[in-house]
């Protein structure tokens, strides 16, 4: 199995979000980055499991500048064989998808793994864009994937339940919870990662069709109204008459 795993990075989940004074940019000062949890915990680990079971290779793919290599190294330490980095700022989902497609087109990957979404911009865009550019079937929000020969059996999250399906390789899959169990890199993995290759390639031209023009903070909560724990009639009354939600 020749497997590609696309990984993005995202601010650490506890990051305090700040914008520039004119509200046109995310203020990256002091922000710690992590690998997007869906990519690290689910997409990468399931790809590694398939490689262990069926043989083959796992290649990481990332669009981002050199400083993002920390995240790529972590993926290599968890067990990927090699990595490709497109040396460019990931300026939009369309831009990223075009990079993945341009690279993957000639490489004949059996499965292109992605995360279900990046938890900063919560886009859930790159996987479907990429699948269309590659003219491949796409299974989104998969929580189970089994391979037999070149055919796969999957299940995916749908509203209030799950759906199961079969598809032959090649295909694109975006991974959700339950796909695999998070792996923590060990010392040996970290040492070996230092010697694994990161192939840096130039970006193909691609236009951003949607761009951010402004950021805003959410409205401040006005403060919690505390209710006497003995008086739940009062809470019900407030929910009905004041908040009007029941």
């Amino acid at each position: 199995m020749k497997l590609l795993v696309c990984v993005s990075q995202t601010p650490d989940t506890t990051t305090k979000v700040k914008f520039s004074a004119d509200n046109t940019a995310f203020d990256t000062n002091g922000v710690q980055y992590i690998m997007n949890p869906y990519d690290e915990w689910y997409a990468l680990v399931r790809a590694l499991e398939l490689k262990e079971q069926l043989g083959g290779s796992v290649t990481l793919f990332h669009v981002g500048p050199k400083e993002n290599e920390t995240v790529i190294r972590k993926g290599l330490a968890i067990g990927a064989d090699s990595a490709v980095r497109v040396d460019a700022v990931a300026s939009s989902a369309t831009f990223v998808a075009k990079q993945v497609a341009a690279y993957a087109k000639a490489e004949n990957f059996d499965v292109v793994f992605m995360g279900k979404e990046t938890i900063d911009y919560n886009g859930s865009e790159v996987p479907a864009l990429t699948a269309e550019l590659l003219d491949m079937p796409f299974i989104s929000y998969a929580n189970n994937l089994k391979m037999e020969g070149n055919s796969a059996t999957l299940s995916r999250e749908i509203e209030g339940g799950k759906e199961t399906m079969e598809v032959d390789t090649p295909f694109v899959v975006s991974c959700a919870k339950d796909m695999a169990e998070q792996r923590i890199p060990n010392m040996r993995g970290i040492m070996m990662a230092k010697r694994k290759p990161i192939n840096v390639i130039a970006a193909v031209a691609a236009e951003d069709l949607a761009t951010i023009v402004r950021y805003d903070y959410p409205p401040e909560k006005t403060g919690v109204k505390l209710i006497d724990p003995e008086n739940m009639d009062e809470l019900v009354n407030l929910l009905h008459n004041e908040a009007k939600v029941i």
């Binding site: 989940t13 369309t94 699948a131 959410p218 919690v224």
Partner: protein, 317 residues
Amino acid sequence: MAVLVYAESLTGSIKKSALEAVTYGKLAADALGTECIALTIGKADGAASLGQYGASKVYNVSTADNNFDSQVYAAVVADAAQKLGADTVVFSHSSTGKSLAGRVAIRLEAGLVTSVLTAPTNGFEVKKGVFSGKGFATYSISSANRVVTIAPNTFRPNASGSDATVETLDVAVPAGRVKVTGQATVDGVVPLPEAELVVSAGRGMKGPENWGMIEEMATILGATTACSRPVADIDWRPHHEHVGQTGVAIRPNLYIAVGISGAIQHLAGVNQSKVIVVINKDPEAPFFKAADYGVVGDLFDVVPRLNEALKKFKANN
């Protein structure tokens, strides 16, 4: 140039989220000075009713089946958009809509924004939540065609107009490569992403055997149950109930959190709820900072009392 809304009907009838999508489509069409038309694929009972929510016409592609294959459906929607002269295509931000939006955007060379919260203004500027509810970003789409998915529980459908006529639309349906083998949904429960009322509990519950009172509250209210991540991880509750940054993100009208501390990753999935009620014995629990109403007390006393009060209220209303 019309606004085309893909109205989901994978189970054979029009979904509630499709009514929201049409409601948005109408708002967008008004803002852009054009009309809103709806597209259904396969069996779609109730399609005519989309007229009541703002669709001036409803089209159905009857030659496609209800087994979802994003490749097939995207080809159908993109062809329909071209045939019907639509430059804006609207999807629900659902497992179906999210799988299609990107594909259709490529086919139409359209700019894409997902989970939008506002109708377009100023050319085509739309707002969405980013950084898990810690901010908003306004996107501008510069291309001639646009594709958006709309955030759930944001555009409340209000029936006003009359039914539309449903016309069959003739577009080529390519052969699919994904074979859907089964679909299992929990019957009679509103799925979490669509739920308007959610009752959720965390590790403060001490054990799965104590969940009876949470389920009772949900039954009284007609609410859907949810839980924090550790509770799903230790199998006190099923995984699909896990809300938060790595679980389901929800925006109900009312979120009642019982025995949940309010960690930032939990808040990330629920902080866009309209009204938040927190029940926790620790007055310092971070969740109170994000709450509208708070009860500081032992949940094992408070919840039964609240259930009694709710029952009394329901009996009189």
